[in-house]
Point group: D5
Chain length 92, copies 10
């Protein structure tokens, strides 16, 4: 498994009417929990003032990561920055 | 408590019809006064020609700051740049 | 008097040999104290990880501000971003 | 009085229906003449191919400049870049 | 304690002669181990092809983080991007 | 004659030893006065905190402007941003 | 006459319904032919994959160029980058 | 034949209602297969988290490439970055 | 094995004296051939006018890719942009 | 033959001692004349205030263009932006 740093900008969902947005966020949280249980989503942080998050994701291949990100309910409304990560000698 | 420099771009509110915009700004001012009274919003400046502001905010943790910013009525329409600040030797 | 937000990047001083750099920083601190006493430098913060600072400066005119910044010992090695600030209704 | 270089991008007005746009531009020209008479708007140039202008504005304080810019009929549709200017030795 | 995402670009050390660079990297690793033991440096990754790293750092205040980063032997040669992080509801 | 807004960044001259820099600036001022007398350099401003200037230049053709800028003693050390300007209806 | 390199981004017209877009492009081509006959539009190229073009335009003054660009039917939907050009010694 | 690296951002299609988007993607895939059979589209990759792709395209001339890209059903909704490629000595 | 698009900017080697540069390029070519034989370097193109290349690299993990790139003789002088690639449906 | 718009930034040559720079420019002009005679360099313009030029180049393939640009004496000191151009319907 390899780690990836993923920044997700979800500001696009604020173009939705509020009820629809809340419903989407609820579905997104449920999907997130499944990905956490599967070990794909390792850690997620909010960012002060930002409509988005930084996360550490883990996948065997870029294909697997792409599939997981595309499966997110917010995928059509969000933009993703994906940084592949390599093992640092201090944490080898 | 730590200081944060926060730039808020509120140009998004100009997509609203004028009456709605004025009502939102009034709610925003009221929320601002509460944050000032709470010591969270230390100082705020407008910027010549800009639909936004620079402010010095104070919070114990990034979580607390994120909560304060998310509580602002303009949050859905605005974008935020947050710079954490550290004590300078000249003001230690 | 008008307020200005000034970001100073001092990374240029790290091209100097260490002894020279420390001597320059000492002269810079002394000059800073004078500007604080004169009310020109209102507040200064360091920025975590950065070789620079954010500050609130106060001057009657842009000429006066330019003179104060040019008087800084680090001026030849530093770059400055100056944002003029206007009074915000919440702090009028 | 201090000088400011102000770049105004008015491309936002092209989202308006043409009649509304022409009416807004007429009101804008009238407001511009008043600012010229008041000495606030010193000089204005169009920019080949651009939906905007460069101008030299003059004001006692950033507050005064902000007020003048906010008074423009196009203010809600435009974006402004404000550069404070200082006296150059060759024109002292 | 709050988390921070820190990107460190160490390409500046490649201006040093190779022996000096290796000695600096050795000192840097030793300093890194101490920060890991202290709980300040939580996790560090290399980035494929890059002369730098992404890391999760933990500190009580921005002052504490700034002190830790300034203590790094590579500090004079490196540039740092610091992102404050807030708790995400999925990991509250 | 057409007007041009020219921004000149002279920070490159700070790589010169101080005596050489002062001598170059003196030659530059003399050349500037000649250009003012010739009507080529209409107005020049310093910019608070910046090692550069904004100026209004006037020339019959881009060739003439290029020649005037290349004739400046600081030309080898400086970078130039040239904006052609057109007559605005308010100043026709 | 002076030459100008002009880049025109016409992606804005793709927001129009297709029939309207084709009609606008037809009017644009007709206007283009007139400008070619007048010697104002010297040469025009498409750019692989881009909704825009690079062109060499010729005009006595920036005013004349601005007028020609503003006369284009696509002007309200397009953005323009104008580079003034000077004679190169190899083509003097 | 020459190779080109083409990055296509298709995020624009997400503004369409979902059924329309799926129909467009189906037509796009069919067009893609034809271009592959013709040798014009040599290889295509998705990019983890991105609504777009990187591809190696092959054409005799820029005109031919432009025609192929303009023929894509997604052309009106997409943006293209085209990098011309030259033979590397290691693959001559 | 996963594919990666890697852009390498080698302009840094032009700071070396010419003989040293040619010797380094020769070692780089030899290293490149080995990586091609190992299947790690799949394809490489030069870019007209650029001191760099685009390449398709293949590795099991980001760690493996990082190791291969760090092994290049030009590594200390070059900068790398790494894009992870995923299988596109048209080439599944 | 296909056309390419090429922007060449030659500011790098100003790091050379003046005599060396003038000798290099003389060799560059001679090489330029040969490329003009060969039909590879179609047209070249200087840019007011800039240490560089815009040119229209013509080549059968990107390989041929790359070879011509690499043959320029200034190649090691310059940076190149290459835009492939396609025939515009108005000039077909």
């Amino acid at each position: 498994m390899s780690d990836y740093l993923v920044h997700i900008d979800v500001s696009g969902i604020y173009a939705l009417p509020e009820p629809e947005r809340h419903e989407l966020v609820a579905r997104e949280r449920a999907a997130g929990r499944k990905l956490i249980d599967a070990g794909t989503l390792v850690k997620l942080w909010s960012v002060p003032g930002k409509k988005g998050n930084f996360g550490i994701w883990s996948a065997d291949t870029p294909d697997e990561l792409h599939e997981a990100l595309q499966s997110l309910p917010i995928y059509p409304y969000a933009t993703f920055e994906v940084h592949p990560l390599a093992t640092h000698p201090l944490f080898a």
